[in-house]
């Protein structure tokens, strides 16, 4: 045994799930190595540029599957660098959902009440701003005014944005040039580094094997920093504990590829994938009606024409987050900016007679781009996604140097999911087409399938071994010492943006991971404060620890 590195804890991925685990394990005294397949970008690397090869394409990954495409992060900080920073907690009813299995899909130990102290830990660790109406950009204001006009409510969404630094440039999907977005690059990751964790970018994990002593060997390739089609031989690291947090589109693929060297995977690995029920509608606003009906003026003679201005999703309608409604009929409607390149090709011409996503009428629609308002629907889908056999390397067969790849996910929406989407579409139309304010059409699924920016549940927690890959402590069934803490562990759609819930679940998973590390002889303790030293959150979860570490 020579030439193989050793560490106590090997973390795969540096997004919410990986960063939170890396921080706590390193702060507790373990030797931690984080392998991240994407580049390490900071500050001025985040250019405002649509050119292929800019941070806009280097930092995220678009994988086209059969019936569903996934947009995910691909850089140090993962999803936190490319997301729009909305951080709401999930509504209470979500945890009682039955979904496709006909009984409660969440573990009995997890409810909104039991997760609340873990949400609090996250809120103490990532600065989250409860935005006010003066923080709300024109697009959010318009959505709020339209909701109000239709007799609905509207809420500014809590976000991990320092509004004093935000310049409303709407480039945040390319990373934040102005350090206004409080991504993991400012919170858990520097704290993990301060405690000795190593973060290695451009290391793509391919497979895991089990050693005779019960530890694990993780094999990785080294990736070119700009052309991700190019890779070179990497190496392997042995670790006593593995924390998989490569994202819901990649974690199950790594496990599938590892089956020959790890042994049989739980049935639910790569199954029960949820797109968080996501769907987008584009409204083409009538500027005159915006002025007349809603009484809105920008102050420069324009009523709206501000699609480019703002900071991601800022205002959401939560009237249909009503736990008394039947499952699949509950959803939120959130105003969202989606940049060109991704947000225009799938937009359909409302009421199109000819082709709806390309051609003459589509070009005319593009000319009115500044008057677009995009509404992001998060509904309750049916966990119907299934990953096919993994590709030879990575999570997809890459086509272009960054961004575009072809994956193995199959997603065939059930009537439940389709009905939820139709209800959300109808609600959008009812609100925005009222009194001629706009014309609305949903994005087409005919081009690249349905589309999610919040992939979930491909390796989920649960009490039933038949339908969950992980126990309620996030340990992979049948493979002690392997934990999954990213979005793939979330059992199903959340009806709101999932980053806050992914993070709370990761925080909740830590005590058991620490316990497992201790059981394997690692000198590590649980109990680090928040990354900034605050301790209220730690006190809040103290009573919960015995139940979480008991096997």
């Amino acid at each position: 045994m020579t030439g193989i590195e050793r560490t106590d804890v090997l973390v795969v991925g540096s997004g919410f799930g990986g960063a939170i685990a890396a921080y706590h394990l390193a702060a507790g005294g373990a030797k931690v190595v984080v392998l991240e397949r994407g580049p390490w970008l900071n500050g001025e690397d985040f250019d405002q540029d649509y050119k292929l090869g800019s941070s806009y394409t280097r930092a995220f990954d678009f994988v086209v599957g059969d019936g569903m495409s996934i947009l995910g992060g691909n850089c140090v900080g993962g999803g936190s660098v490319v997301y729009f920073a909305a951080m709401p907690r999930a509504p209470r009813f979500v945890f009682e959902r039955h979904g496709s299995i006909g009984r409660r899909m969440w573990p009995s130990a997890v409810s909104r009440d039991t997760l609340e102290p873990w949400y609090d830990r996250v809120a103490e660790s990532i600065p989250i701003t409860q935005q006010t109406w003066t923080d709300v950009p024109y697009a959010g204001g318009l959505w709020a005014a339209a909701c109000n006009h239709a007799g609905r409510t509207a809420n500014p969404v809590p976000a991990a944005i320092d509004t004093t630094k935000c310049v409303n440039c709407n480039w945040m999907m390319a990373g934040c040039r102005f350090d206004a977005k409080k991504s993991l690059l400012f919170t858990y990751l520097p704290a993990a580094l301060a405690h000795g964790a190593e973060i290695r970018p451009l290391h793509e994990v391919q497979k895991i094997e089990r050693n005779h002593d019960g530890s694990y060997r993780v094999h990785y390739d080294l990736m070119d920093e700009e052309d991700y089609r190019l890779r070179s031989d990497g190496g392997a690291i042995d670790a006593k504990i593995i924390v998989l947090a490569a994202g819901a589109g990649a974690t199950p693929v790594i496990l599938q590829r590892s089956e020959p060297t790890l042994g049989t995977m739980p049935h639910a690995v790569g199954r029960y994938f949820s797109g968080n029920g996501e769907r987008l509608n584009t409204a083409i606003l009538n500027e005159d009606k915006v002025r007349e009906v809603l009484g809105l003026e920008r102050g420069d003679g324009l009523a709206y024409e501000a699609n480019q201005i703002g900071k991601g999703p800022v205002v959401a309608n939560w009237d249909r987050l009503d736990g008394s409604l039947p499952e699949y009929e509950r959803f939120s409607l959130e105003q969202l900016y989606f940049p060109p390149g991704l947000g225009t090709i799938l937009a359909q011409v409302p009421g199109a007679q000819g082709p709806s996503w390309f051609g003459v009428d589509k070009k005319e629609m593009l000319k009115r781009w500044r008057s677009w308002l995009i509404i992001f629907q998060m509904t309750e889908d049916d966990n119907e996604g299934v990953f096919g056999p993994p590709p030879a390397k990575g999570n997809a067969d890459r086509l272009s140097q960054q961004m575009l790849g072809v994956g193995r996910l199959r997603y065939d929406p059930t009537p439940n999911t389709l009905r939820g989407w139709a209800l959300a579409d109808a609600e959008c139309k009812d609100i925005l087409e009222r009194d001629g304010l706009a014309e609305v059409a949903a994005w087409t699924n005919d081009v690249v399938g349905a589309y999610t920016v919040h992939p979930l549940a491909s390796c989920r927690i649960g009490d039933d071994p038949a339908t969950s890959a992980l126990d309620d402590r996030h340990e992979l069934r049948g493979h002690p010492g392997i934990f999954v803490t990213d979005g793939s562990a979330v059992p199903g759609a959340l009806t709101v943006n999932p980053a806050m819930t992914i993070s709370a679940l990761a925080e909740r998973a830590i005590p058991a991971i620490v316990q497992a590390a201790q059981d394997r002889g690692v000198d590590v303790t649980y109990g680090a404060p928040a990354p900034d030293g605050s301790t209220n959150g730690r006190r809040g979860v103290a009573d919960l620890l015995p139940a979480l570490t008991r096997r």
């Binding site: 292929l52 907690r89 809590p158 480019q308 390149g341 140097q401």
Partner: protein
Amino acid sequence: MRTPEEELRTMTLEAFADTIVPGEKRSPGDRSVAGASTGGGAVQAGAIELLEWDATGLTEGLDGFSSALDAHATNYAAERGVTLDDSVPPFVALDFAQRTELVRILTTPGHPEKALWVSLALFSNMAFDSAAHMHTVDALAAGHPGLLALGIEKPGPDGLWRFPEFSYGRELADLHPDTTPSGSPA
């Protein structure tokens, strides 16, 4: 300098890109661009430059795309009794409505080659809506027809976008009654 074969390939690919985002003819004799819309379309926006950049991953397949598209056009014309002008590639010889119909058929769910044609459409559209082969600041300065058509604002003197005016600045709706003090659904 392009070879005669490359000229023909380019004409076919231009005609495809122009079907996705149509533009006006570059000259009266322009055969690739059908002239179905005013202002520049995907071709003027740089679709061929983008497709010929190997970063897209399509470059090596462009000969195949072009010949396959022309073969589809030949079959399409034969099935409908359309006589094609053989001085240009078959897809270029179709009129705009016929090009549109053929692209619609090739990109319809269930078509065995759908993924190929969708990827060509994605990059054709991307040339227009984001000038993915150019730095955005340079594209705007050069009058890129797609970015101008979208109405993308010019950046500030340092090449960065900032919008100091961004909000209506007033309460525009009541909050949902079941909202926690920290702003989440209750």
